[in-house]
Amino acid sequence: MKRKILGSAVAAAVAFAPAFTQAATTVSDGAVKLGVLTDMSGTYSDLAGPGTVEATKMAVEDFIAKEKPDFKIEVISADHQNKADISANKAREWFDTQKVDTIVDLVTTSTALAVMKVANEKNRISLVSGAGSTPITNEQCNDTTVHWTYDTYSLPVGTAKAVVKQGGKNWYFITADYAFGHSLEKNTSEVVTKSGGKVLGSVRHPFPGSDFSSFLLSAQASGAQVIGLANAGADTINSIKQAKEFGITPKQSLAGLLMFISDVHSLGLEATAGMYLTTGFYWDYNDETRTWSKRYFEKMKRMPTMVQAGNYSSVYHYLKAVKAAGTDEAKAVMAKMREMPVNDFFAKNGKVRADGRMVHDMYLAQVKKPSESKYPWDYYHIREVIKGEDAFIPLAESKCPLVKK
């Protein structure tokens, strides 16, 4: 309650006395506290995990060095073990006893959805970078969540549009047989057809799968130019490996609908060469991304994934918004986050929409052949920049009740 009064008092002060907006920032409990809730030990620890914790710390250090804030910033982290109940519990505990103001990363959708709900109830912010499901900014959206890096619409849609344009007209899908896989296939098929391509068929594999031979053979027999992999994680990795063994690639090309640079790194270029994928960030894209990524590499000995880079960007933007709002009260900070464009190495003119989606450009990448790769982590050709408005679900089609139509 105290926090609320303080917050609204500050908000009022900001509203009525614009001349004093640069006055001291009032933060609750003496510090802005960020909680990194991520997978430190499981499947997603490579693409998020310790790397996002490091990225968050880097964002805080850079912010302090550059913006010289008059408030303290603290970072704590925990392993949610990809379990929704552990996340919900940890989030509640952090808000109630540790005075955490904002929770970041949240890889795995079930954990993100659980934490978003708790945060909203307690009037705190969630910055989602790791999870990808579209319900985060649609059916389940709320006004204290920002979905930063990517979603399961932007990745397949970007890839499908671009691949069809590059001549990959005939598609065949290998789909993980559960809701996530189905929606991935559906989203992608629509785009393929709309862009003038054709879907020859699809086959569903049990989730999780280990033997993809029969599915790969039917994909091969279909004669499609492009095989879309509507699955994720270990399923994608296994299907790519086996496609190589069956000699399907490079005759037919694979399109990974949900792939990260960490997957390419562990599979190696031998198996992945020529694949198309969409990414929100590539370390070797321009000088700015290279400078940041090399700093990151110094610390983690790996190049950042889009989740880790996006997490840095979201934390930095959040801290800027706290400074601009002069408070860490969630609603006031959210208003600033929406108002200010996101401009850093990760996003150019990124914008946080009413449904919580941060819209920024995505990149269509093609994995290099081993002979083209000149130095470590030299993995992608960036074939095309997908404009933010094409990459994400248009606001008009959003199912989020917060969007006024």
Partner: protein, 309 residues
């Protein structure tokens, strides 16, 4: 006044004081898992049946309770009832099939059936698949008490737990419990004494499933979500771990075991990647050095030192 009475009093005192010392939501979680482990112990510790599919009861009851509350708008007590009843029905089906075999085959049948349930939870649209069922309202107990308040919720969970624990305790002490123990010790002899062993086993199985369901439904209310974690076979393994750590075949053991495992997961979360390693090490040490579990070893010490409580 015997040892068990003292145990009950200590348990009650801890239950009343805990939420003012430890974070209440964590204590609620411990209580849910403690009930789950106690229900499991009824089967493993007292009947000698190792079920490897108990997550199915925990998880499906969670989904049923969630659906009853969110989809049908029922009150929390009816939600819990629906969850436990659902788990009991499922337990009857599992039990009828599984008790026909013993030992490893029994464990494998329960595991296979639980995997079927996992598959259904993944495929049914109402469970939300990977995303889980989210934002389930806690509702008002009997239409009066608002459970959104943490302390109200806590004492409700404590009451549910004590009820479940009392049922198990009664069952163990009753003639029915004596028969179960007889089956555990020597099944052929129990048969020769004229007991219809299968019926007793089935009844124990259904009771255990219903109580595991009660724990799952309560957990759904506490966290306002139901997810695949609870139907996954990892959960079936975790409950074995809890029971063994605390002391299999002891009344209070599973509670201690659940407290250790859940606290480890919670406090260990901030240690990052070391949680799983730590849990593993503790398990190995326990199996090698304290085979009776924490409570079992303590009970043995008391017995050896000759103190008569």
């Amino acid at each position: 006044m015997n040892g068990k009475h003292i145990g009950w009093i200590v348990l009650l005192l801890i239950g009343l004081v805990a939420p003012f010392v430890v974070y209440p939501v964590l204590v609620m979680k411990i209580l849910c898992f403690a009930l789950f482990a106690c229900a499991f112990n009824l089967l493993l510790g007292y009947t000698g049946l190792l079920s490897f599919g108990h997550a199915a009861f925990l998880g499906s009851a969670g989904y049923i309770c969630g659906y009853a509350m969110q989809g049908l708008g029922l009150s929390p007590e009816l939600g819990l009832l629906a969850g436990s009843a659902g788990a009991a029905v499922l337990g009857f089906i599992f039990g009828s099939l599984a008790i026909r075999r013993a030992g490893i085959y029994f464990a494998m049948i329960t595991l296979a059936l639980a995997q079927l349930v996992f598959f259904l939870a993944l495929q049914f649209p109402f469970t939300g698949g990977e995303d889980g069922m989210q934002g389930i309202p806690r509702g008002r107990l009997f239409g009066l008490i608002d459970l959104a308040d943490t302390m109200n919720m806590y004492f409700f969970v404590l009451a549910v737990f004590l009820f479940g624990f009392w049922v198990i305790d009664r069952a163990i002490d009753s003639p029915f419990g004596q028969v179960l123990k007889a089956i555990r010790e020597n099944e052929p002899r129990a048969i020769s004494l004229g007991y219809d062993v299968d019926r007793y086993k089935l009844l124990a199985f259904v009771l255990s499933a219903a109580l595991a369901g009660l724990a799952g439904a309560t957990k759904t209310l506490v966290f306002q979500l139901a997810s695949l974690t609870d139907v996954h076979w990892h959960m079936s393994g975790e409950v074995v771990l809890m029971t063994l750590l605390g002391g299999v075949g002891t009344v209070f053991g599973p509670i201690v075991g659940a407290t250790i495992v859940v606290s480890l997961q919670n406090y260990g979360a901030e240690l990052g990647q070391w949680v799983t390693v730590l849990t593993g090490v503790i398990f190995v040490v326990c199996v090698l050095a304290f085979r009776r579990g924490v409570v079992g070893e303590v009970a043995l010490l008391i017995k050896r030192s000759g103190i008569r409580p």
